[in-house]
Every structure is written in C-alpha cells, then in structure tokens.
C-alpha cells in the first residue's frame, strides 16, 4: 500500500462511474443536454434581438460579444459538469450522512466532495460554445489570432472555472453551518450573473465601485472578461495587468475557499452528534 491516495485514479473512477450512471438514464441525459443547450440558445437570441437596435454594447460589437457569450458557455458548462452537482449535493450529504462516509476516507475531503459526480450532459453547451466561437471569430473585423492568444485562452478559461468553483464550494460549505441553503444557490446564481457581462458596462457612480468589488474582492468579473477579451480584443497595455491579476485572483480564490471549507467541516464535526 502506498501512502498517498491516487488522486488521478480516484478522479478517473468518478469520471467513469458518472458516465456509466448517465448512460443508464439515457433519456434523461438527452433531455438534460437539450434543455441546457436550448437555454443558452435563447439567451443568445436575446442578444440577437438587442443588436437589432445598436451596433455595439460598451464597445463590444456583435461578433465580439458572441465570443464573450461563447466564453461564458465554456466556463459555465465546465463548472456545471464538474462542480455544480457536487455542491448541490453537499447539503443533501449532510442530511443523509453521506458526508460522514466522506470524512472517513483516507483522502482529502474537499476533493472527494467536490468531484464525486460529474454531469456529462452539461458538456453539451461546451460544443455549442465551440460552434459559436468558430462562427464568430472569423466575422470579427480586423482580428488576427496569434499563437499566444490561442494558447492562453483555454488556460484562462480554466482559471475562470476555478474561481467560480471556489465561490461555489465556499457557499456550499457555508450551508453546512447555516443549515438549509436554497438561497445560497440563488446567491451563487445572482453573484455569477454579474460575471456574464463585459466589465465596461459597469460605469458611473454605482458601476465603478461595483466593478471594483467584483474584480478585487470577489473576482468574478475576471472569470469571463479576461479570456473573452484575450480572444476578441487582444489585450492592450492597460488591460494586460488584468491577465496578470487573473492568476493572482485564481490562487487567492482557491486558498480562500479551502479555508472556508475546512472551517465548515470543523463546525460540522463539533455541532453534530
């Protein structure tokens, strides 16, 4: 027996088991895929309507904005596939005692709780996003992609996913100590809602502090803005600090959520019988 648990092995087993499970409920799987895709398409429809009346929104032209939406879809589909079902299940696990079993295992509890179930159907949007990206990028006027852009785009998408994961798991963990947590998920939705728009729209007396709050305190504006800008509007000098800040924000979020999670487990262990 080796001393360190095999994290990759466990993760791959989760991946496999979830796939087996999803495939046993194939009809559900298809319906879920279809419904989450149609949701995003409707959302896209809204912007098609809006662009009837304006050539751009806060400096984002139609196709640039489509790239922004595609980025949103990449990030969200990854978060929904890997982390959302687990965060949602956490309170259920507290109730049914599943968390007790997780605490027994000789492996990091946060890892076990965060990745246990993977919702393959959510990856449907990933492909819609791919299509949208390939449709929109060539239609942006005067855009020539460099090697660095193509390389860094997925990296920053991954960082965005990690930031959102941190916010989500921190909220879910908080629910361990606050009890029922429906509004925490609402909170997650409402908070991340801010991340789905270009940061330039937050302007003025109210907008600037809001933009700063969601950039520096809860860095959710970084999540989509940085990778989307990277592709659609290559970073100018004044924006390149954003790319650097993205790395800091990711690390900070991960550490912060780790602390909250541990704190919540501690409270769980001392508050239950």
């Amino acid at each position: 027996m080796s001393h360190h648990p095999s994290y990759l092995g466990v993760f791959l087993t989760f991946v496999r088991n979830s796939l087996v499970r999803d495939m046993t409920f194939r009809a559900n799987f298809l319906i879920d895929t279809f419904s989450s895709m149609s949701w995003m398409i409707m959302n896209l429809g809204f912007y098609v309507l809006v662009y009837q009346f304006t050539p751009n929104i806060a400096g984002w032209g139609k196709f640039e904005f489509f790239v922004f939406i595609a980025t949103t879809m990449f990030v969200n589909s990854l978060v929904q596939a890997f982390f959302m079902p687990n965060a949602e299940e956490l309170s259920e696990q507290v109730r049914t005692g599943g968390l007790d079993f997780a605490l027994l295992k000789p492996i990091d509890t946060q890892f076990l709780v965060s990745l246990r179930r993977i919702s393959w159907s959510s990856l449907g949007n990933f492909f819609v996003a791919m299509l949208l990206l390939f449709y929109s990028v060539p239609r942006i006027e005067g855009l020539e992609l460099s090697f660095w852009q193509v390389l860094l785009y997925p990296v920053y998408i991954l960082m965005g996913v990690l930031i959102l994961y941190s916010v989500m798991i921190a909220l879910a963990a908080t629910s361990i100590w606050l009890g029922r947590n429906q509004s925490l998920y609402d909170f997650w939705f409402y908070i991340t809602n801010f991340s789905r728009y270009p940061m330039e729209i937050y302007q003025g007396t109210w907008g600037t502090p809001l933009r700063q709050l969601f950039t520096f305190v809860i860095p959710i504006l970084v999540v989509i803005n940085v990778p989307a800008r990277l592709i659609a509007k290559p970073l100018s000098w004044e924006h390149s600090w954003l790319a650097a800040f993205g790395v800091v924000a990711t690390l900070g979020s991960l550490l912060g959520s780790r602390w909250v999670f541990k704190r919540a487990l501690w409270s769980y262990r001392s508050a239950s019988s």
Partner: protein
C-alpha cells in the same frame, strides 16, 4: 361552513409557520432577487449609449428599467416555485394518496399553501421592494391615474391565479409521466422568454410579436407592467383584462379536469 373555514384557516396558519422557520434564508433570498435588475440597468444603459437614439420601440432607457422592475413585481405574483415539481414528487412518492383518503381538496390545499407562501413572502419582501422602488423612483414616469392603478392591481391578482393554475396543471401531468422535470424546464424556458420577463415583448420581430399575443405567458409578466406604464390603454386595456380572465378560467377548468382524470388513473392502477 364555519368548521370548514376553520380547517382552511388552520392549514393556512400551519403553512405560514412552516415558512417562517428559516429566517436567514428569507431575508437574503428576497434581497438577492433584485441583483439581476442591477445588471440589466447597466446593460441597457450601455445599449442606449451606443444606439445613439434615445428611443427603442417606444421605450426610453428609464422605461426599460421601470419595465424590468415592474415585471419583477408581476413575477413575484405569478411565479410558483416548487409547485409543479412538488405535485410531481407527491405523486411519485405516493404522498398524493392522502388527498384521495382525507376530505381535503388537493387544489384548494395547494392554493392555500401558496397564498400562505406568498403572504409571508410579501410581508418580508415589501421592505426590500419598497426600498428598491424608492431608490429607482426616477426611472418611473410617475403614478398612473387611479383607474389604471386599479387595472394594474387586478392584473397582478389575475397573474397570480394564472401562474398558479397553469403550473398546477403542469404538475397534474405527472399522473401520466412520472418524470416531469424536463417538461417543467421547457415550460420555464417559455415563460422566461415569452412572458416578457427577459425583455419587453415589443422588441420581438414578426411573426413572434403576434404569436406571443396568443399565448398565456405574457399575462404573467409583460401585461401588468405594460398596464402600469400606460402601454395599453382604453378598450385595449379592457380587452387585455378580459383575455387574462379567460385564460385564468380556462386553466381552472383544465386543472380540475386533469386532477380528476389523474386521480381516476391513479386509483385505477391501485397506487
């Protein structure tokens, strides 16, 4: 009659109590409902700034913001979180049996539970709503005349009833298909897009603009807001209220019919 009223009163009281147990949830949830409005304000401000013209399909930016705030209010009346899925769960887990056994009317019970839910919600939400409306008062064109105000309130009550009976009918479908969550999702999608919750229906191009007029969804968000903003007036307003009432009546009947048929089917299969 009195005994019956007492029964209903007791049920209503229990439901209110149940909803009051979770305080933290409550206050938080209510306040957060306004967060999407904030992003909408910023988004539309940016759209109007770039569009150049101050008017889009008859809406100024302030109109649009007021419109969103008003649809929030309308949705607070017409949205029924957990209603259909709750019915589906009761059918799936066999809890529905108690309505076959006990002398309680299922729809009546659900309606009361929902009223309790809403009463508690409004009593807590009134504060945040008033606060947000006060902060945003400059977006509104001012108080409408009394008769419009009455029509607005009436349309809100009708929106509540329409939302309730429409979603209850959806829930009854679970007597036939146990897994209705995907159906509910499609329903939710339609409501969101075609009720006017996402945007003023005026910006839809033809033929969609005409199609939504023939669907019940717009009476759950768009219509009350449009009434308040004076977008529908005179005979058009009266017609609108009549059609809204017709939809409510239609769904009351449909809901009851599906329930009866569902009960028959359920007892036929022996649960």
């Amino acid at each position: 009659m009195l005994a019956r009223a007492e029964t209903w009163w007791t049920i209503l009281k229990i439901c209110v109590e149940e909803r009051l147990v979770y305080r933290g949830d409550f206050a938080l949830g209510t306040l957060m409902r306004f967060l999407p409005i904030v992003t909408q304000i910023f988004l539309w401000t940016a759209v109007f700034a770039s569009a150049g013209s101050g008017l889009i399909k008859g809406f100024t930016r302030n109109d649009i913001v007021a419109y969103y705030l008003l649809t929030m209010l309308a949705r607070a009346f017409s949205s029924m979180p957990g209603l259909a899925s709750g019915i589906a769960r009761q059918v799936r887990e066999g809890e529905i049996k108690k309505f076959l056994v006990q002398p309680i009317d299922l729809i009546g019970y659900l309606l009361l539970a929902r009223i309790a839910h809403k009463v508690v919600y409004y009593s807590v939400a009134a504060g945040p709503f008033a606060l947000v409306y006060y902060i945003c008062r400059s977006y509104f064109p001012g108080w409408p005349p009394t008769e419009v105000m009455v029509a607005f309130l009436l349309s809100l009550v009708l929106a509540f009833l329409l939302g309730f009976f429409l979603e209850a009918t959806m829930g009854m479908i679970s007597f036939w298909f146990l897994e209705v969550s995907s159906l509910l999702f499609v329903y939710m999608l339609f409501t969101f897009f075609f009720s006017g919750h996402m945007f003023p229906l005026e910006i839809l191009p033809e033929p969609w603009r005409t199609i939504v007029d023939f669907l019940p969804f717009k009476y759950m968000a768009y219509f009350p807001a449009a009434v308040f903003l004076g977008k529908v007036q005179g005979t058009e307003l009266v017609h609108g209220l009549m059609i809204q009432t017709a939809w409510v009546l239609g769904f009351i009947v449909l809901c009851r019919m599906t329930m009866q048929a569902g009960f028959n089917r359920y007892s036929g299969y022996g649960g």
